[in-house]
């Protein structure tokens, strides 16, 4: 009895093939509908290349005399980032303690910690800035608070994760000598989360320098206000000056934060 040699093989059977093709079709239809809903004006798209050349022409060369003028707002931007990050860290310490499974006192405090972490993170920095401008008026204070509240979720979430990863043996040792809950935190937990702390703090500061450059658009202080004004008055060479300065500041902050994170052990 000879067995017929099998020569055909398909990965999918007929029914699966049709279903897969339908899936691709549905995805394509959704993409087309979404694109149409945007009402893109194609005349502008056609002009894009010319507009870009035009803009760059007006921007270049940057205005070196304006560079001196933007030093104070740049310093203010850095200050907003530093103070905002500092305040965020201060507020994050107790929230991280509540939001870490191994340190939180009970299920309710854990839920509160998690809620604060998720809640502060889900609001954009611009919205926080508008909120604090209504309360405290325009200026750097609103900027500091906006940056701080935006950062709480990020900082406390990463710190809480750091706390959850500690070696419980070191905590047990402090409990075994009769240490108070405070001693357990200061001797058993803090030394273990120190590198996490430094890396989270510098990383967030680095992000906050960038955040602080845009909140000026809504009046919360820093270089963003100068950028907004220069755009409004069509001073394009000033705009380029500001963009170059921002790039410089961001690069420096990245370098500093990378250096600090490398330093801790």
């Amino acid at each position: 009895m000879a067995v017929e040699p099998r020569t055909s093989w398909t990965k999918y059977d007929r029914k699966t093939k049709i279903l897969r093709m339908l899936g691709v079709l549905v995805a394509a239809v959704v993409a087309v509908l979404a694109w149409r809903a945007l009402h893109v004006r194609y005349t502008f798209v056609a002009n894009a290349a010319r507009n870009l050349r035009d803009l760059l022409g007006r921007m270049y060369p940057p205005n070196p005399s304006y560079a001196v003028e933007i030093v104070p707002p740049l310093v203010e931007t850095m200050n907003i980032a530093i103070l905002g990050t500092g305040l965020a860290i201060f507020l994050s310490l107790p929230i991280a303690y509540l939001g870490a499974e191994n340190t939180t006192p009970n299920a309710i405090t854990y839920a509160i910690g998690k809620f604060l972490i998720v809640g502060t993170r889900s609001v954009n920095v611009i919205i926080w800035a508008l909120f604090f401008i209504i309360i405290f008026g325009t200026g750097a204070l609103a900027g500091v608070l906006a940056v701080a509240f935006r950062s709480i979720g990020f900082v406390s979430k990463l710190l809480a994760e750091g706390i959850e990863e500690i070696d419980p043996g070191q905590v047990a040792a402090i409990r075994a000598v009769g240490g108070s809950p405070f001693d357990v935190v200061v001797y058993g937990i803090v030394p273990q989360v120190k590198p996490t702390f430094v890396s989270v703090a510098t990383y967030r500061w680095d992000i906050n320098v960038r955040e602080a450059t845009i909140i000026g658009f809504v009046g919360a202080g820093g270089i963003g206000a100068s950028l907004d004004a220069s755009i409004d008055f069509f001073q394009w060479s000033n705009v380029l000056t500001i963009l170059i300065a921002m790039l410089g500041v961001v690069l420096v902050s990245e370098g500093v934060s990378a250096y600090l994170r490398g330093k801790t052990r």
């Binding site: 006192p105 070191q170 075994a176 009769g178 405070f182 030394p191």
Partner: protein, 269 residues
Amino acid sequence: MLTITDLRKVYPTGDEALKGVSMRVSGDEVVSVIGPSGAGKSTLISCINRLTEPTDGSIVLDDTKITSLSKRDLRRSRREMGMIFQEFNLIERLTVMENVLSGRLGYMSNWKAFRRKFDAEDISKAYEILDRVGLEDVEDKRVDELSGGQRQRVGIARAVLQRPKILLVDEPTSSLDPETSAAVMELLTEIAREEEIPVVINIHEVDLALEHTDRVVGLTDGRIVFDGPPGELDDGARDTIYRGGEPRAKAGERTTSTESVEIEPEGSF
């Protein structure tokens, strides 16, 4: 004097680690607890200072009934019980001196503890103990720079600085090589005798137990099956402890491995 009566421990998983253990440690006795992995040795040690909460039974140290203390009073009693751990459990990122002095945390205010403001008397005693355990001139090194043997010496120094009424020692040599094990065991028992502190050591190296301790307690499956001086631990007794009474089947068969104990969180630390 430590008196343990009918101690039982059932873990939340249903494992019955201790099934009614009673023993007494008095004077400045050095007692070793031996037994196969999973016999409940580590659970027994950590029930004594209630890092593991016993299910039933009582533990009395001198006149204090440890098993019925409130959290606050338990912290006071823990100051009087030094503990030495298998994995050393030192604060890895702190210096040798901070680790040794942390033995006094139970006696300090939070504010002083935070500022590392230790009493002059404790500091001079700490230097003395560091000399005694052979760690002179490393007090400012971070603990994670030390070797295993040196770390366990720091662990011993921390426990002794508590000036405890008893030393609880959980597998002190399991993370060390044989030579270092013997040295650490010798140092530990010598210091305990000098300072007249009674010791309960659980250990799986029977030879070290026989050589360095005054009394051997054999624990099998959560029950004490042997209790006597090292001289009485003959082959029959060993078979009872390690093979549930069955004689040795194959020569060279050994029980190794380390047993770890689950330390239960007390809600908040």
